[in-house]
Amino acid sequence: MSKAKQCPSSVGNEPATKEREPLDRSAATGRAYWRSLDEIADTPEFREFLEREFPASASELAGESRRDFLRVMAASIALVGAASVPGCRRSDHKILPYNRDPEDVIHGKPLFYGTAMLLPGGGAEGLLAEAHEGRPTKLEGNPLHPINRGKSGVFAQAAALDLYDPDRLVQPTRLAKGEPVPVTWRQIDGIARSHFRQFDLTNGRGLAFLVSKVSSPTRDAMRNRILERWPEAKWLPYEPIDNEAELDGTRIAFGRPCRTVHAIEKARRILSIESDWLSGYGDGASIADQRGFGAGRTVTDTHDDMSRLYAVESMMTLAGASADNRLALKPSEIPAYVAKLAGRIAPDAVAGSDLAGAELDIDSAWIESVAADLLAHRGASVVIVGASQPAEVHGLVAAINSALGAIGETVHYVSVEGDEAASSLESIRTLSRDMKAGRVETLVTIDTNPVYDAPVELDFAERHAKVKTTMHLSLHFNETAAASTYRLNKAHFLESWGDAVAADGARSVIQPMVEPLGYVNAEHSDEEVQHGRTDLEFLAMIVDDELRDPFEIVRRTWGNASSLSGEAFEKRWRQTLHDGFEPGSAGSALRGNRARVRTNEVVQAMGRLRAPAARSAIDLSDVEVLFRPSATLFDGRYANNGWLQELPDPMSKVTWDNPAIVSPATAKAMGLVEGAMIDVTVDGRTLTLPIWRQPGLPDGLVVLELGYGRERVGRVGDGVGFNTYKLRTGGALRRGTGKIAAAVGEFTIACVQTHWAMEGRALVREADLVAWQKHGDEVIVDQDHYGRERRLDFGDRFGVESHSPAIVDIYEDDQEHHYTNRLQWAMSIDLNKCIGCAACTIACQAENNIPVVGKDQVNRGREMHWIRIDRYYASQVSDPSEAGFEGDFGDAGPYTGGRTGDDVDVLMMPVPCQQCENAPCETVCPVNATVHSPEGLNDMAYNRCIGTRYCANNCPYKVRRFNFFDYATKRLDGDYVGKEALDGVVPSADYIPPRLRQKIDEGKDELQTMQYNPDVTVRERGVMEKCTYCVQRINEARVEVKTRGLEGMPDGFFETACQQACPTEAIVFGNKSDENSRVSQQRENHRSYGMLSYLSTKPRTTYMVKLRNPNPAIRATHEDPFHHGGGHETHSDETHTGNHDDGHADAGVILRLPVLTSTGGLA
């Protein structure tokens, strides 16, 4: 563009062209971000502005000449001039496209790959990993995989965050003169080759491997190579949470170690003995069990039958929570119970046993009637026993299952061999003994952390320090890494190749989603990224395998194991990768597995057990101690996972801690409540930790959760909770005896059940199956106080709806045409299926970029979970004056559990946003940030929100969450990365403006943000948020449906994150305007009710009444739960109508326990 043309006087000479001429913009070289000022001003508005000011030029305001004119005009406007400074406009965003397009990648559309996750102790889950442009963000269950069938558990969901843990080991280091020196993997390879060669002379004597216990064919193959080369090397599989009792018990019963695989979906009667099988983790529990249980609890009409679950246990587990009849016994009493039961079912197996005749102070129906019930369902009943019971009991249970005809039907005993058959205790004892004797010269620890979790009497750390060369391979710089001479970084399972076998025999290849993350090692100029290596790669280095590539190593195993070769093998391999497991391998381990129980051996074993001591008053100096894996951190391996640290324990709802759990009466005997410190002494060792009261526990028992108190794991998990491994000895891995005493001090526990509580209304509803069978089809039509018709079905008759006026909308006419859109979203949650496992909470967190806020913020009630699980206790109230526990329970009434607390029922209720059609939050928002969509969603526009929090205040369900701070840019433990640098300068990093903080933190948290779902906005400080029904998935599906040219949304076309994860399929989501959709049908079901629906909020999320199917011989069933009784807290006489007798639920049946506060007081 020539200078002359810029002269305003030349304007008129240019012809006014209608079409925009191509611009010569090569002149625009000055500013990087700007074309030129005239372009900025080239808007209709500006044209109008100029029209007013320079009417004479109006006719010329078009085309090139006008712009030239404006260029001069604009330059004279100071404000616009300022705008040409780059800082005033948006920053320069780069787009980096691929150099070469990868196959299948459509930018903006995630790809799903089949992979698998190894489970500790054996087994695997088949997963689908969602990858956005090569970046895995979320894991789902593989819909084809026989174990998962599209469902997934808490740990699988949380594994995506583990991948991006910023505290992972990033490069190998070697300890030289006490100082860590960075080394490269190439050096490690060289060192390994030369170092391990020395063992060729000794046949491997002095060489020991302590490895995780997993079912991986390729790792087994590597083990074989190692043992082939060094026959005398020690190969020791070890897990701190192992199920030795199961292996030993099946050895007794069948003569060979077996893993128990249940087929719960076939079971009509289930007896759970001290087992946490419904939690989906540990003890051989699995997603398949949860799914099977959900299937057995499907009740659609009044003719449907339902499974019955008995639980005999000490700790209140999820199985106990879902049980129809629960009996609380001390762990030591349980063998006697099983023996007595066996006396009725398999008398041969307990012939001559002390236990069968032992004194046990329980209702005889628990033996007679339960046995009769199980026998009556021969072939469709099953007994499940947990890992804390001794091997003899496991053997006996196998005999009972055999007598019940369960083996091969509802339970499979699958032989295991190799690593899986090894005893962890034996492994760690052997190693420890050898180390003490100086027989170990080189110890390789892979994926194990014995310095932290080995039985305490072994003095493992001390002995470990004496070993000359110790090599440790793991994700984190953990306690064992710190004590080892070589600390090697391991690749996450989403980063490299491997393989796995599921409990039912389905063989999967672990497929990497992303190149291993790592940094360029500054110490070495070769720019080699020192990313993690898998155990397979490391073992290949040690044994100097001809293959080093994990892919090749895995393929070699599969090639060797396969009868196919060449093309056929390649095809099979590809099919395996695609499906996520080898075709035909599903269920292969279960086929033809009809083991015969060796009764004589069981009888002999039972002879070793002694009868339990008679019950006495609580003796604090002689209590039983039960060790159990944490429901959220498992054995401690997830301690640096913020999601899991903040996930409330399903029962106690405690986050970020592991208090010692005792029964209320035990606590009372000590005169203590929550937050008080106690000394727990086991075997002469004492640990001081806070106390927590758990109803439903037998008295004289203290339950300790393992996995906390990590010293070295990372910024999230360091020092959180108390290391209960320090009390655990090899002789008492699961249970022992000890004493407890009050200690000095108080401790703050962050418990979420104190928040979001909804007092005194029939929010959660349950009835006995018989009541449903009798009344399920009834619809009560009556008139309310104002003479309006009111229709009440089964679900409505429990709550305040039964005596509140009919719901009449004063805007009724208007409402008619509010929700006419063809898509009307709704969710139905079947409380009968919900087991409270919290997979939905973590799935939601992963999907919706929900931040972790830290213990301090949780304690202030600021946790951010969009879907929480409310846990209610309920007990039968016959006469409150007989209450066994007279605490100060405020308005909530007395706790009336019996001596053993065995009549406490637990109800779980997931609560996401209810998406009310008449949403109370919307009416109070001053800026219209939360409004309704025509599809019935309660929209939340983050960018409009100014943070008044009126909406949260007005939400009767308390499902709205507020970003009090910039949680999303915070570190996982709630602190900022730069906090250390700022400590002492400012009171809290929260006071630093976000931009500045971002600079401080720059780069360091990038890793963590890689997990974020790119389809969901990351919310900032001062913004309200809540469940959106996964609106990003809705929108995606809507676009997909239209792109494909479908005429509507097929039911089940997509799922919300919570629904997708839910193993029992308790959550159903869909279009309620489609009559045939599952959600419509569930909403129509008479069990359906809306929470607080008498407020006329018209919630789109509805619940289905929980049903219990108790054995009437143990507890009387209630056919008519709707009689008028005491305990209606929320109704007043004015709202009563004449129809009391059959219109009311007896809310008195369910009595909520008081809310236990975190500071030791009672709310």
Binding site: R20, P22, L23, R25, S26, A28, A32, W34, R35, D38, E39, I40, A41, D42, T43, P44, E45, F46, F49, L79, V80, A83, R89, R90, D92, H93, K94, I95, L96, P97, Y98, N99, R100, D101, I106, H107, G108, K109, R822, L823, V931, H932, S933, P934, D939, M940, A941, Y942, N943, D1015, T1017, V1031, Q1032, N1035, R1038, V1039, K1042, T1043, E1047, G1048
Partner: protein, 252 residues
């Protein structure tokens, strides 16, 4: 009693001047904010210099290449992907070693576009190709993080490139031609008939219009009465629910 002149007489005008001045200042401030603090002022015309002197005018205009030759995923994905270097190299691939001219790619008029390959502006592209590194393009159209826009949804409904990018086939260097403000989005979501084009049977003789044929589509859309008629038909036929105007359609 004498009055001391505590305040000089001119101070009497302070309230008046203050009031008038204050009000006018306020008006000016409001006017300035109202007018200039808008996306249509700040965003339109943003034209960063790109690392490679790629001309849409040449490729999409003169050579009449379909937009989707490079932006391959635009009908399937929310993003209209920026092409990989390899896409450029499909044409600009073989350089005659002696002449330095392109041997393979030939423009419509039969003249080899060799000038591009020797061009200084293509240095980064050549480098990218050799080193297998991405070209650092500068982003022109940028929505805030809290807005989700889906190209595929719009294209499949019949909204052409033209409606948002105007005549990109006439731009030697791409600039933002529309404000991309929420009000601008809603204009169309409230009256979709103004912007929907059918890709079938619109031209005389039932010829198909490519949705990327910007000159033809411009002609169709600017003929407003005929467009309204056709557009309304299309809305009935194609959109089984109206373009959403609720928050969660774009903000989540």
């Amino acid at each position: 009693m004498t009055h001391t002149a505590l305040f000089p007489k001119w101070t009497n005008s302070i309230p008046t001047v203050g009031a008038v001045g204050g009000v006018s200042t306020l008006i000016v401030v409001v006017a300035v904010v109202w007018y200039w603090f808008t996306p249509s002022f700040w965003e339109v015309g943003y034209m960063p210099t790109q690392p490679v002197a790629f001309s849409h005018q040449l490729h999409a205009g003169t050579l009449a290449m379909d937009c989707r030759y490079c932006h391959t995923n635009v009908e399937e994905s929310k993003h209209a992907n920026i092409p990989a270097t390899s896409t450029c190299m499909n044409c600009h691939t073989v350089v005659n070693e002696t002449t330095g001219y392109l041997a393979k790619a030939v423009s419509l008029d039969g003249v080899s576009p060799s000038v591009h390959w020797a061009n200084e502006g293509l240095a980064i592209l050549r480098e990218s190709h050799a080193a297998e590194l991405p070209v650092p393009w500068r982003r022109v159209h940028k929505l805030p993080d809290y807005v989700q826009f889906n190209h595929a949804a719009h294209l499949n409904a019949g909204v052409s490139c033209y409606s948002c990018h105007q005549r990109i086939d006439t731009m030697p260097v791409v600039f933002q031609s529309q404000s991309l403000a929420m009000g601008w989005c809603l204009e169309c979501h409230r009256a979709p008939e103004k912007h929907l084009v059918d890709t079938k049977g619109l031209l005389a003789g039932g010829e198909t219009v490519r949705i990327t044929d910007l000159p033809t589509i411009e002609k169709l859309l600017t003929d407003s009465s005929a467009q309204l008629e056709r557009g309304e038909e299309l809305v009935d036929k194609r959109l089984w629910n109206d373009p959403p105007q609720n928050c969660s359609a774009c903000h989540y």
